[in-house]
Amino acid sequence: MAESLILIEHDRQQVKRPSLHAIALARQLGGEYALLLLGHGLEGIAASLVSYGASAVVVADDPALAEPLADRYAKVVAEAVRKGGAKTILGTSSTFSKDVLPRAAALLDAPMVTDVVAIEEMDGSISYRRPINAGSMFATVKVEGDRRILTVRATAFEPPAANAVPCPIKRFDFDAASLPNGIQFISREERRSDRPDLTEARVVVSGGRPLKDKETFERLVGGLADALGGAIGATRAAVDAGMAPNDYQIGQTGKIVAPELYIALGISGAIQHLAGIKDSRVIVAINKDPDAPIFQMATYALVGDLYEIVPQLIESIRRA
């Protein structure tokens, strides 16, 4: 019996790599862990998961699970937990896990801790550290009961190596006809980009309100990101102004990133935004306001006009 069960996320083609980071926490907690995959047509994705040291890859594959609808997914997750007997259910903090896992927690009558960044062990009992108040503080939380659901911040845990002896893939049988039918999938905005995924990129270039419009944003933020082979991010203000799509938003309510290099263009540094970037290794801030709060946490600060500096920067990088 696996002690932990990890809900793995995918985009129908492949595993979303940040969802593998929860494996690191399962290893720290000790005991066997199994990986749980829900969807339809999962053979290839399941096969890509066998070498992460799990006791099994448990696969719930059915046309009824083709779209990640929370009512169905939560029910299948809860059934898999009951059947497998896992005490800890893990996922990576993402809109997918945040949609499905709290609902599964309610079905399992179990408490949940969101955004775990570390565990602490004291007198044989484990507590969990998590950011609160937009990351301005950390709370250490104790959980009672025999079962718990955790989501982890991908940026706080290393990705696992895929070098273990292949584990079995086990089909999880459930009664698809008994699944709820209250949520219907209608459509998804399909936007393909050649740029790397924001949460996995080594370099992230982000823009704020001073970028003015969509075209300028793309030219300066996009241009610099492409010169560096990086991903694009944005502040809430830039998204609200229609310069960038919602899934580019970084911060308390958007994505959390921790790249090697984060470049902030025209971002003053609201705490909600800083919450999403502060684990980046190197932060470069370019802003014309010398008192912008972001300069207090930037590794390198350059005061000046974006419209002059960014084209020069793109040019210098391209030449190098």
Binding site: A105, P131, M137, G182, F185, S187, R236, V282, L313
Partner: protein, 246 residues
């Protein structure tokens, strides 16, 4: 159609200090995401699709100040569950499920998360407890088919997604759903006459005990401010030679 909006009184996010295993603030406010939920309920009523908006919150009598603010925005009446313990999201969801059973709304709208705790759990847990459909992180709501269904646009990590939920359902709000109105003076005056019903968990017939406890709260180490550079050349040199990221 009857709408239940649940909201949480939170420390003013701009003015929070640590006091033991809790935070302290000179001023509490309605959780900004819940304010968006209240605003949406008001707009649904203004376009003639709802007849009644009931607010609910949990806390000591001090939260009546945030309840008055919700009533002043336009909520019709409110229920305060009188419980001043440090509840966890699951306990809150269980209390709210008892309130939903008592009030029988067609839809429950609430913020996707509270800005103090950032857990993002209550709406989904409530939907699970009730066996109702859910639409989370919603930035657009339309009612369809004689208000038997709602079409919701959700903000997900991969972009926008549209789902339809059968009513009754739970909807949790994201930032871009709307911009909440300011409270008006006539609104404030009206709010004084609107009823607030205080109920205990006993009266609701629900017993909850939080299963998660905050042991301590601390500030993370501050990231030190770095170096000012004067030119693009200097920046590139530093990134190459000092930080070694280029």
């Amino acid at each position: 159609m009857k709408i239940l909006v649940s909201f949480k009184s939170v420390p003013d996010p701009n003015d929070v200090t640590i006091a033991g295993a809790a935070v302290s603030t000179p001023k509490s406010v309605i959780n900004p995401f819940d304010e968006i939920a209240i605003e949406e309920a008001l707009r649904i009523r203004e376009r003639g699709e709802a007849t009644e908006i009931v607010g609910v919150t949990i806390g000591a009598p001090a939260v009546d100040e945030q309840i008055r603010a919700a009533l002043a925005m336009g909520v019709d009446c409110a229920i305060r569950i009188d419980d001043s313990r440090a509840l966890d999201p699951y306990a809150v969801a269980r209390i709210l499920s008892a309130v939903v059973q008592k009030e029988a709304p067609h839809v429950v709208i609430m913020g996707k998360q509270a800005v103090d705790d950032d857990s993002n759990q209550v709406g989904q847990m409530l939907a699970g407890l009730l066996g109702w459909p859910q639409a989370t992180f919603v930035s657009k709501i339309e009612f369809l088919d004689n208000k038997t269904r709602a079409r919701c646009t959700r903000e997900t990590d991969a972009g926008l997604e549209v789902v339809e939920v059968n009513l009754p359902a739970i909807i949790t709000t994201d930032l871009r759903l709307n911009e909440p109105r300011y409270v008006s003076l006539p609104g404030l005056i009206k709010a004084r006459r609107k009823p607030i019903e205080a109920l205990t968990c006993d009266q609701l017939g629900v017993t909850v005990r939080p299963l998660t406890t905050v042991l301590s709260i601390a500030r993370p180490p501050k990231r030190a401010a770095g170096t000012r550079v004067e030119s693009v050349e200097e920046l590139i040199t530093k990134l190459k030679q000092e930080a070694k990221v280029l």
